[in-house]
């Protein structure tokens, strides 16, 4: 379903990677690895269509994502280093307004349920700015609980989470894969995904060494 | 008493609009402030009572659910 061929990324005067190709089908997850600064985030943003690739092509269901445009974006769920939550709003409001702006239907009960499951039930009505670092991340990740879109792109979802919360997120991804979804994920903390096929891709120095050998 | 008639009093020597405008605004605001305060206070007390009641019933439920645990 998602196919990348020969992607190249140049930042400033530095070529981060070139010739990156992979293919991902439903129920599969790509686990993107690499040192700090090897270009994982850059690759994910490229796959979302936020940054144009210097060369290479990205196809979704056989068509270039640039052409698909809104059609592609309506199947995509991206979570970056930033949490994309508003500090003034409560977790509940954040969740609801994010859903409404993405034109998804999410009623209040479902949202409360999602918050409950990420462990924020006591904080649903507290402005996010008072939350702890990990609680903010949880508020952002609550979007995934009822997320039905096919392609999940998650950039270091486990950051700041305690181990229990990390495991819960991994189970969400697992369930998504089992439903036939696709996922791309980076992380420096190994958390086992309980279901689906996990494929790996390494970027950066180690990858180059790999290819050279 | 300085005034001859009520009409005189209200006219205020042709300055009625200004004088009574001042009086009215002053009276209005100085009445409104305590009324609003009272109202706000009532709402607050009702809210707090509701909250306390909810807390108490929750505590009761908890202690029924696991009677062995002491209330902390």
């Amino acid at each position: 379903m998602l196919e990348a061929s020969n992607l190249e990324c140049v930042r400033g005067e530095r070529r981060l990677f070139a010739g990156v190709s992979f293919r991902l089908e439903g129920g599969e997850m790509l686990y993107l690895q690499g040192q700090n600064g090897s270009g994982k985030t850059s690759l994910l943003r490229m796959l979302c269509g936020l940054t144009p690739a210097v060369s290479g092509e990205i196809r979704w269901r056989g068509e270039a994502i640039g052409k698909l445009g809104e059609e592609f974006r309506s199947e995509l769920c991206y979570l970056g280093h930033q949490n994309a939550i508003k500090e003034e709003l409560t977790p509940l409001e954040n969740l609801l307004s994010a859903a409404r702006m993405a034109q998804e239907s999410l009623d209040e009960d479902a949202a409360l349920d999602a918050l409950d499951r990420v462990g924020l039930s006591g904080r649903a009505d507290l402005a996010c700015r008072y939350l702890s670092q990990g609680q903010k991340r949880r508020a952002a990740l609550a979007r995934l609980v009822h997320e039905k879109r096919a392609l999940w792109i998650l950039d270091e979802p486990y950051v700041a989470l305690d181990p229990a919360a990390g495991k819960f997120v991994a189970s969400l991804v697992g369930a998504h894969l089992q439903r036939g979804g696709l996922a791309l994920l980076t992380t420096h903390q190994a958390v086992a995904i309980p279901a689906g096929t996990v494929r790996e891709l390494s970027l950066g120095a180690d990858a180059a060494a790999h290819r050279r050998s | 008493m300085h005034w001859n008639s009520l009409a005189d009093f209200l006219a205020m020597g042709n300055h009625g609009l200004y004088v009574w405008g001042s009086v009215l605004m002053m009276a209005l605001l100085m009445l409104a402030e305590p009324i609003l305060l009272r109202h706000g206070r009532k709402k607050l007390v009702a809210r707090l009572r509701r909250q306390y009641r909810a807390e108490r019933s929750e505590a009761r439920r908890n202690s029924q659910a696991n009677p062995g645990r002491s209330k902390d």
Binding site: A127 | M1, H2, W3, F9, M12, G13, N14, H15, Y18, V19, G21, S22, V23, M25, M26, L29, M30, E33, P34, L37, R38, G40, R41, L44, V45, L48, R49, Q51, Y52
Partner: protein, 249 residues
């Protein structure tokens, strides 16, 4: 010595202040009503017509007390702010925030009654006179204080920030007043002179005095009422508030 300090802090604690304020409030209301009735009777029924201004001058019985209160309340507010910063008592911050809206109210009333007085006397709702301008600025200072406190939702932080602002403001008020005064008198001669009040009959003086006293009592009553509400809100987790509200059930 230590005894005195303890006593002081005892009354500064919300728990003891709350019932005390509750007992005092009705008295202040009564006094406010009494003084108000006296002042208005003298001012509007008994006082003679002013030679120059006709009946319009009667606005003075509202205008001057409102102006005085607006300035005085700011001083009191700054006093509470200072004690709050110095002794870190909870009551001080609450008093300061309880006074601000009333101060703003009187500043507004001073502007309003002044404007309504100005139209017949000077032919304009507003002129850029020193006293008028500094009253306007005072209103801004009040509003700034209220807006700042409203924008910070942790009450302890709001108190401290408000206190700093109030103190800075109180240093500035005399500077502002004199700068504005000088600015205006340099620009134009005394086409409008507020400095010389019309030589007032004793009757007028008494009327003004009683009206001013009524405003005083009113302010105290309202501030105490508001501070009681603020106390309940802020101390809602303490046992004494719980007990208090449970009693009345």
């Amino acid at each position: 010595m230590s005894n005195r300090v303890i006593n002081w802090f005892r009354y500064a604690s919300p728990q003891t202040f709350y019932p005390l304020a509750g007992q005092l409030i009705p008295w202040f209301w009564a006094l406010a009503a009494l003084f108000g009735a006296l002042g208005l009777t003298i001012g509007f029924l008994l006082a003679p017509t002013d030679a120059q201004q006709g009946e319009g001058y009667r606005i003075i019985f509202l205008h001057v007390p409102a102006s005085w209160m607006s300035m005085f309340i700011y001083l009191v507010m700054a006093f509470w702010a200072a004690t709050g910063l110095a002794f870190n008592t909870r009551l001080s911050g609450m008093m300061a925030s309880a006074l601000a809206p009333t101060g703003a109210l009187f500043a507004f009333l001073s502007l309003w009654t002044g404007a309504l007085w100005g139209k017949p006397m000077w032919g304009a709702w507003w002129v850029w006179d020193a006293r008028l301008t500094s009253e306007l600025i005072l209103l801004f200072l009040y509003i700034g204080f209220i807006a700042l406190q409203a924008a910070i939702d942790d009450p302890r932080r709001a108190d401290k920030a408000g206190a700093i602002l109030a103190l800075v403001g109180v240093v500035n008020i005399p500077i502002i007043y004199f700068s504005v005064k000088w600015w205006n008198t340099l620009h134009q001669g005394a086409s409008v002179s507020l400095t010389k009040a019309p030589s007032m009959a004793a009757m007028m003086l008494w009327g003004m005095l009683f009206c001013a006293l009524a405003c005083w009592m009113y302010s105290i009553a309202v501030a105490l009422t508001r501070v009681r509400t603020i106390m309940l809100e802020r101390e809602r987790h303490t046992d004494w508030v719980r007990a208090l509200l449970a009693d009345k059930e």
